[in-house]
């Protein structure tokens, strides 16, 4: 059979995507598609791993058996999601070690939201409720992604994340029913997390370099703006129903559009935080590096042992 031209392959590839077929690991794909996916999936994986830290800080202090168990389970899920996503990225030809290296040297990016501090217990509830709601809206969209392994990983992650939302909400409701101090703790956390959460879905598409290609190849199926609007419409009534305020006086329901209006976050802040200059970037990476360095001997030993066992088996 004669070699097909790049154009012919690309046309076939795009036709498959437009028919709603999934692209699988062994299939032909344009380099740009592969690169875009590796970038997105590895960023997502890094976000899960770094995302363990802000909440993980509260594991030793979680109040009561149920909260303690739930929080450990949740932070564990994040490690599990990281593991799953690194696996999905590996199917595209990049090793976990390479990706880890990029994270630890500050070369790779990850979600802005994990670079903010978690000074009170209420932050745990708010992350589960607000941040994970925003994450699920994004991930539900990604579960439609054209790349099979990513879409399937997302489907599973979505189930687990919706469980996180319930737990986060449950923790917030407990505080909402509690003492005035407990309620104040929640409001303070909402105030601090509101804008960082809005930023999570990414800059307006006009400012996003990667968005257009990702949309064209159905790596993602909705724009950043659509995802953000969906989040706002979903969460604002919930926040108000519990008697808390959204820290944005201009956040009102617009009858003409059937959407809530909201004040745009500071996009310059997002750029800074994503590029390494947020309130906790240094602290987060230092914690990851420490774990990585201190665990080096374990990884080496396991690799050596694995090799020895294989030699024995082969002999």
């Amino acid at each position: 059979m004669p070699e097909k031209s790049y154009e012919a392959r690309l046309a076939e590839f795009e036709a498959r995507i437009n028919r709603g077929e999934k692209i699988e690991p062994g299939d032909w794909m344009p380099d740009e598609y592969r690169k875009n996916l590796i970038r997105m999936i590895s960023q997502h994986a890094h976000s899960e791993i770094v995302g363990q830290l802000p909440e993980g800080k509260w594991i030793p202090h979680a109040p009561g058996f149920r909260r303690k168990l739930t929080l450990i389970a949740k932070v564990q899920d994040e490690a599990g999601h990281g593991q799953l996503l690194y696996r999905a990225a590996e199917t595209l030809g990049k090793s976990r070690e390479e990706m880890m290296e990029e994270l630890l040297t500050g070369k790779a990016k990850y979600s802005n939201v994990f670079n903010y501090p978690t000074p009170t217990w209420a932050d745990v509830g708010i992350i589960g409720w607000l941040v994970d709601t925003a994450a699920v809206i994004n991930q539900t969209m990604l579960a439609q992604s054209s790349y099979g392994p990513y879409a399937r990983a997302m489907k599973r992650i979505c189930y687990e994340e919706s469980f996180h939302i319930k737990q986060g909400y449950d923790a917030v409701v407990a505080l909402a029913k509690g003492t005035p101090e407990q309620r104040a703790m929640v409001q303070d956390a909402i105030n601090r997390w509101w804008y960082p959460t809005l930023m999570m879905s990414g800059p307006p598409d006009a400012l996003s370099v990667h968005s257009q290609l990702a949309l064209r190849w159905k790596i993602k199926t909705k724009s950043n703006e659509q995802v953000r609007q969906e989040f706002v419409d979903h969460i604002v009534p919930q926040v108000r129903a519990l008697g808390f305020d959204v820290p944005d006086p201009d956040c009102v329901y617009d009858e003409s559009t059937s959407h809530y209006r909201y004040t745009q976050p500071d996009w310059e802040e997002l750029r800074r935080v994503v590029n390494g200059d947020g309130p906790c970037n240094a602290e987060r990476l230092a914690a990851r590096r420490k774990a990585h360095e201190e665990g080096r001997w374990v990884r080496e030993a396991l690799a050596v042992k694995h090799k020895k066992q294989r030699e024995v088996a082969a002999a």
Partner: protein, 266 residues
């Protein structure tokens, strides 16, 4: 809910026995959870988070039984009790150390728990039998995991061997403290609640010594004929509520938020 135990069993001693198991599980589970987000590889991060939940879940089972015997609720026991009222052994209270110490501690503890639960499968108290039947199923996973880590890290590289050996030297005498005699233990043995700590320790030694040795790790014991003679002093005191500062710090951390509003929901 209430639980009654057959009358010849001294209730107070029985309750202390339950509590000593509950406190061991909670404190070790707390220590294990300190690896969540910080383990050497993702798979171990997940593993220790999982083990932590299991151990804390087991603590909850024992505290629930304690409540059914007329004690306070599990949350009150874990989150409002004074640190010197805990009855855990010193072993579980030590800081997590490096990963080698964590692995060795987990392995030594897993075998002890396995041996203990196996013995409880034939306890005279039905409630203990049924708890043991449930927990042993979960616990067996821990043992398979920690034992395979001991076997792999014990002699893989010079560094891993050094670290594991240091961990065994440190942890072995501490682990012997798991089997510190309980108050009123003889009455618990007589009434068939369990076989007693001396018997458990001997079963434990028979299992851990060969595994550690096979992993090229030196253990301070002497084998004469069928008997294992221990050449180290056990680190005891915990079962009588005599604790080290590590536990004080741990309990303070654990209760920090709960105590902000002890009457409130969290």
């Amino acid at each position: 809910m209430s639980l009654t135990i057959p009358s010849p069993i001294p209730l107070e001693h029985f309750k202390r026995f339950i509590l000593s198991m509950a406190d061991d599980e909670l404190v070790l589970g707390h220590r294990d959870s300190e690896w969540t987000g910080h383990a050497p590889i993702l798979e171990e991060d997940i593993a220790f988070s999982n083990i932590a939940q299991d151990e804390i879940g087991h603590a909850l089972v024992w505290y629930t039984m304690y409540e059914e015997l007329g004690g306070p609720s599990p949350d009150e026991m874990g989150f409002l009790r004074e640190w010197n009222d805990f009855l855990c052994c010193h072993f579980v209270t030590y800081p997590r150390g490096d990963f080698a110490y964590t692995v060795v501690r987990q392995y030594l503890y897993d075998v002890a728990e396995q041996v203990r639960l196996r013995a409880l499968l034939s306890s005279s108290v039905e409630a203990l039998r049924s708890v043991a039947e449930k927990l042993i199923r979960e616990e067996s996973y821990h043992l398979l995991h920690s034992q395979s880590l001991v076997e792999r890290l014990g002699d893989a590289t010079p560094e891993s061997h050094d670290r594991m050996q240091r961990a065994v030297t440190e942890a072995f005498p501490q682990a012997l403290g798991i089997f510190e005699e309980l108050e009123g233990e003889s009455s618990l043995i007589e009434s068939g609640v369990f076989v007693g700590n001396t018997a458990l320790k001997s079963d434990w030694l028979k299992e851990v010594v060969p595994v550690l040795r096979k992993a090229s790790l030196h253990v301070p014991v002497q084998l004469d004929a069928e008997n294992v003679r221990v050449l180290a002093a056990a680190d005891e005191g915990g079962r009588r509520g005599r604790h080290l500062e590590h536990l004080k710090q741990l309990v303070e951390d654990m209760q920090q938020v709960y105590r902000l509003a002890p009457q409130s929901q969290w």
